[in-house]
């Protein structure tokens, strides 16, 4: 189980709510895989990917609104994460027949959410908490 402790919070309700939801989705998929329930995995990973994309859009909009100077850079970072999501979907296709795919998918999801998505967002925490 991954948990969002205080240090990961952005001090922006909207973003924290999204991040919390991402973490829950990852935990849900992980638990499902650990429990050997794999039928719904692909759908759940698809939902996850959709939610990530909508979150990126919301976040970029918010950053624009508050005049964060490095929006372009952060947007580029979000874009660079798309291939990773495609890869997760490929793994999700394999989980029924390949134990390695299950392990890699779990790992990838955790690193993705905690390191690539949330930790990188902390770059603008200071900016948005100061501007609100």
């Amino acid at each position: 189980m991954v948990q969002l402790s205080e240090t990961f919070l952005m001090e922006s309700q909207a973003l924290d709510k999204d991040h919390q939801r991402l973490v829950e989705m990852v935990n849900d998929i992980t638990q499902m895989l650990d429990g050997g329930e794999i039928e719904n995995c692909k759908t759940k990973v698809l939902n996850f990917v959709e939610f990530v994309k909508s979150h990126f859009a919301r976040e970029e909009q918010l950053l624009n609104k508050v005049g964060y100077p490095n929006v372009d850079k952060h947007q580029k970072h979000h874009k660079e994460l798309y291939p990773k999501m495609n890869h997760m979907l490929e793994f999700a296709d394999m989980v029924a027949v390949n134990a390695q795919a299950r392990e890699s998918l779990k790992k990838e999801l955790v690193f993705f959410v905690m390191d690539d998505v949330i930790t990188t967002d902390l770059d603008f925490k200071k900016f948005i908490s100061g501007s609100s």
Partner: protein, 360 residues
């Protein structure tokens, strides 16, 4: 969250900014390898995480406990961190078992002894308990160092080029053993290495650092190797064949064939092709460019072949071929590229990365 979470670390030595807003996260049980040029701040980051250095800017959290901020500094012995640095040697005047017991001052005596023997067992060194360090080989000392680092049941293990003093065979053996022991103990591990192949072998995730602790790319070893996003990352893993061209209709032409790219048309680009991405074929067919081999070096399973393209432009090519490919028995060769091993970057990208020195 269990594991290590570092964010927004900036660090100065005098006026020299060594880390600039560096962040990373390692869940427990996972191993992250950090690769980067000399002087990029890797050891500084480890020293900060271990508590040997005080945080100037940013936050370090281990297993949900904040251990370092500019106003809070938990001492190394209170951080549940094990360290294994290259120059962090065993105490020469203490026996092996006493070396390991040293870090177990918090444990009751009988429990400490049990734990120390158990760790020695894990690294296969119980029979050396009463020996002195100088009577052990480099690899054996390294095993003891690992046992000592893990004995106090740390939540986080920090390894700074731990195997660099070992020869190739021993290195391979010890890193495999280390990996087993680490996975068994479920600690979060952050390891710095200069050896990209070692990183690929050991890591669940690789972080490539540029200057000032800037993360250039993070991902699974496969991703770093096959989908590098920067020229510097692509070049980490050894020599590359380089071609330049202008993007046209979503492609760049090279003498070995064209490569797809999503870089805009009209942009000057470079194509980097790994030596294993050049495919040599017999009896020059239409799809490739004919070539002449100038030398061949056996690497064990593979050969590295140097060749010259007969396309009037010249330029040397490095090709990795199967060992059964005997240059002496070949004629009429041609070459084409395998797009999977070819990476396209805009030439402008060179600007902010050109100051990076290649790592050894």
């Amino acid at each position: 969250m269990e594991g290590l979470h570092i964010f927004g670390l900036s660090h100065y030595y005098g006026a020299h900014k060594v880390l600039d807003n560096a962040s990373l996260m390692i869940p427990s049980g996972e191993l992250v390898c950090m690769l980067g040029p000399s002087g990029s701040g890797k050891s500084t980051l480890l020293r900060l995480a271990s508590g040997l250095e005080k945080v100037q800017e940013g936050t370090i959290v281990i297993d949900d406990v904040t251990v370092g901020t500019p106003s809070l500094h938990l001492h190394p012995e209170h951080r549940k961190v094990g360290v294994m640095f290259q120059d962090y040697t065993l105490f020469p005047h203490l026996t092996i078992i006493k070396n390991i017991l040293f870090g177990l001052f918090n444990f009751p005596t009988d429990k400490a002894y049990k734990r120390a023997m158990n760790m020695l067992d894990q690294v296969g060194m119980t029979s050396y308990a009463d020996k002195y360090p100088h009577t052990l080989s480099g690899g054996q000392q390294q095993r003891i160092a690992l046992a000592r680092a893990l004995a106090p049941e740390p939540k986080l293990l920090l390894l700074d080029e731990p195997f660099s003093g070992l020869d190739t065979n021993m290195r391979q053996k010890i890193r495999e053993e280390t990996l087993n022991v680490l996975k068994e103990n479920g600690v979060a591990t952050l390891m710095v290495t200069h050896d990209p192949e070692e990183a690929m072998f050991m890591a669940d995730r690789i972080k490539v650092m540029g200057e000032s602790g800037r993360i250039l790319q993070a991902g699974r070893p496969h991703e770093i190797y096959y989908h590098p996003r920067h020229e510097f990352v692509a070049k980490l893993f050894g020599m590359m064949n380089t071609f330049t061209g202008t993007v046209s209709e979503g492609r760049v032409e090279t003498p070995l064939g064209s490569v797809l790219t999503d870089i805009n048309d009209g942009v000057r680009a470079q194509v980097l092709v790994r030596p294993e991405g050049v495919i040599i074929e017999n009896n020059g067919n239409d799809s490739g460019t004919s070539l002449e081999i100038t030398s061949s070096h056996l690497l064990g399973h593979d050969n590295i072949v140097r060749a010259r393209l007969n396309n009037g432009i010249g330029g040397e090519l490095y090709v990795r071929v199967h060992h059964a490919f005997e240059v002496e028995l070949k004629k009429n060769l041609s070459a084409r590229l395998d797009p999977e091993y070819a990476f396209v970057f805009p030439l402008e990208d060179e600007m902010d990365l050109e100051n990076l020195k290649p790592i050894n």
